[in-house]
Amino acid sequence: MIVLKDADKLYKGDGFETKAMDHVNLEINNGEFVAVMGKSGSGKSTLLNVIGCMDRLTGGTYILDDTDVSDLGILKLDKLRKQKISFIFQNYELMDHYTIYENIELPLMANGIGSGQRKTKVQEVMERLSIAELKRKYPKQISGGEQQRTAIARALVSGNDYILADEPTGALDEENSGELMKIFKDIHKDGKTIIMVTHDKDIASYADRIIEIKDGKVS
């Protein structure tokens, strides 16, 4: 479960301050599929970064599965992220010089999983997402839809409970977007908690709940 209480995120620069999150109170239960909607610059990605332990709050509390994340050190934060959270990005964020297989096995390598076990798990997710034949290809050799499915496979392979997706259909056409959302629904059936940032209402409609964010405030 994710709980944010009076969460603030303030960015300071040379002579300016931006409040990206302003007293946000939010609860997301395990197994929920939540869409976060808002205009550009409203604080959606900041919210996702904080939930994903990629950034820290400047005020308030963040509790993830009964652990108060707010005061955790860097090492513990990294460990928590590794154990619980997987990411899917708009621009896929695949490593260009690695094959599709190597990109997907990355989280397993981070966890120190042996090569035999890695092979089994990667093969499993690739077949589930119908990208098994792309094993030896490189990201630049495949389509956007296939790249995004690779990113999803990478997010799934470690078996983490929380999947955070930042505009996953942002770079895809309508057909591929629809395909992708079917995959998300499928993942959701496995009991994963999915938090998806989007500015597309049609895409957001696939979620169980929609959270609106405006000027750093959640309504």
Partner: protein, 391 residues
């Protein structure tokens, strides 16, 4: 996870960055080392001499003849002969005489007084002191020795006609492998490798009046043992008695120190170019290391967002940079190993002496290459490294 193996994996994934970095570092290091050695080799003869001389530098005296001697007056050479003849009577002088170096196109030639051969550790291949016994010698021939590598060209018992002096010699023995003689001049020439040389009795040559002229450019040494001050006084008295035009008798150690002082005074300009080249090599290493990190910035962000710790990323960067440094230094070492075949003895000595410097330089370069990337990764958030924008 095994960051070392992953670091190697990263290198294979981006081989061009690795190769360019290693190539640029290697070239910079080779050129800067070469410059140091070339400039240094002319400036520190003491180091060279200490390895070759049989005696302490402060126990060896050099006679500096005055300008008059260089005017090739036969009187002066007769006086020098008398000096050497009477030196035996001075207690405490073990070796004395003159030498100079020539060549015949095939071999270097050391023309030396038998009474001076003990200055350096020159022995026969049976490890015996050189013998210049003319009692059982055929008359009309002088005694010569040949270096270990030329013993088949000038076999023992064969005759050798020296074109420089017009004298004929009999090769009486082979010199011990690895024998060396003092450099001909004191400005950083390498020690003479006697393996590739003939050693001819100079005393025999200058018995011919027309050959006394060779003494004008010869180097003149005395080895004086204990109680050197009293010996020097006796020697000065003898020199005055013979009315030899002598500027002074100097300790070899003092003479070398004065040369080094002159060299050090000029060190600023002489070392400027090697320092600039070395600095360039350092800057290139640092810049390419930074470029490598910035080129892999996105990869590091992806790794951080997929379970890698910052410590893993730093381990990967360190592994890459250690391997780059090792490869660059290995190329440098291999290059110099090949060059050693053509290196003179002094340069070889200098190169060996620079081991400590090279060892320290490795760690300096490694530190500089890693300092920025480590700081950058430590202060960056995963989102800073990825190509994401706020939507």
């Amino acid at each position: 996870m095994n960051t070392f193996l992953f670091g190697i994996f990263q290198i294979f994934k981006k081989p061009w960055i690795f190769l360019i970095t290693v190539a640029m570092m290697s070239v910079g290091l080779i050129v800067s080392f070469y410059s140091f050695i070339v400039y240094d080799s002319y400036h520190f003869p003491t180091r060279q001499a200490k390895k070759v001389l049989n005696y302490d530098l402060d126990d060896i005296y050099k006679i500096n003849f005055g300008m008059h001697m260089l005017g090739l007056h036969s009187d002066d050479f007769d006086k020098l002969d008398k000096l050497y003849g009477q030196i035996e009577d001075i207690q405490g002088i073990d070796y004395w005489g003159s030498y100079f170096v020539g060549g015949n196109g095939r071999a270097d030639i050391l023309y030396v007084y038998p009474s001076l051969t003990g200055l350096c550790d020159i022995r026969t291949n049976d490890n015996l002191a050189l013998a210049f016994d003319y009692n059982n010698m055929q008359s009309g021939y002088g005694i010569a020795y040949v270096g270990a590598d030329l013993s088949k060209v000038y076999p023992v018992g064969s005759k050798y006609l020296d074109e420089e002096t017009g004298c004929e010699y009999i090769i009486s023995g082979v010199l011990k492998d690895g024998s060396k003689w003092l450099p001909d001049d004191l400005y950083g020439s390498s020690a003479m490798n006697m393996n590739q040389a003939l050693l001819l009795d100079l005393n025999y040559a200058i018995a011919q009046p027309e050959n006394k002229v060779f003494l004008a450019n010869a180097s003149n040494y005395l080895f004086i043992g204990a109680e050197s001050d009293s010996v020097k006084d006796s020697l000065n008295a003898l020199l005055n008695k013979l009315e030899l035009d002598v500027d002074g008798i100097v300790r070899l150690g003092s003479l070398y120190s004065s040369y080094e002082k002159d060299a050090m005074d000029q060190a600023g300009e002489n070392y400027l170019l090697p320092l600039i080249l070395l600095l360039s090599a350092l800057i290139v290493s640092v810049i390419t290391a930074r470029m490598s990190v910035m080129a892999s910035k996105k990869d590091y962000g992806i790794m951080l967002s997929n379970g890698f710790h910052k410590a893993n990323i730093i381990g990967i960067i360190l592994t890459e940079n250690i391997i780059k440094c090792c490869c660059a230094f290995l190329i440098c070492v291999l290059y110099w190993a090949m060059q050693r075949l053509n290196m003179d003895e002094f340069t070889k000595t200098l190169y060996k002496d620079m081991f400590g410097f090279r060892f320290a330089l490795f760690f300096v370069i490694l530190f500089l290459m890693c300092e920025f990337p480590v700081r950058y990764i430590l202060k960056s958030k995963p989102t800073d490294l990825l190509s994401r924008r706020e939507l």
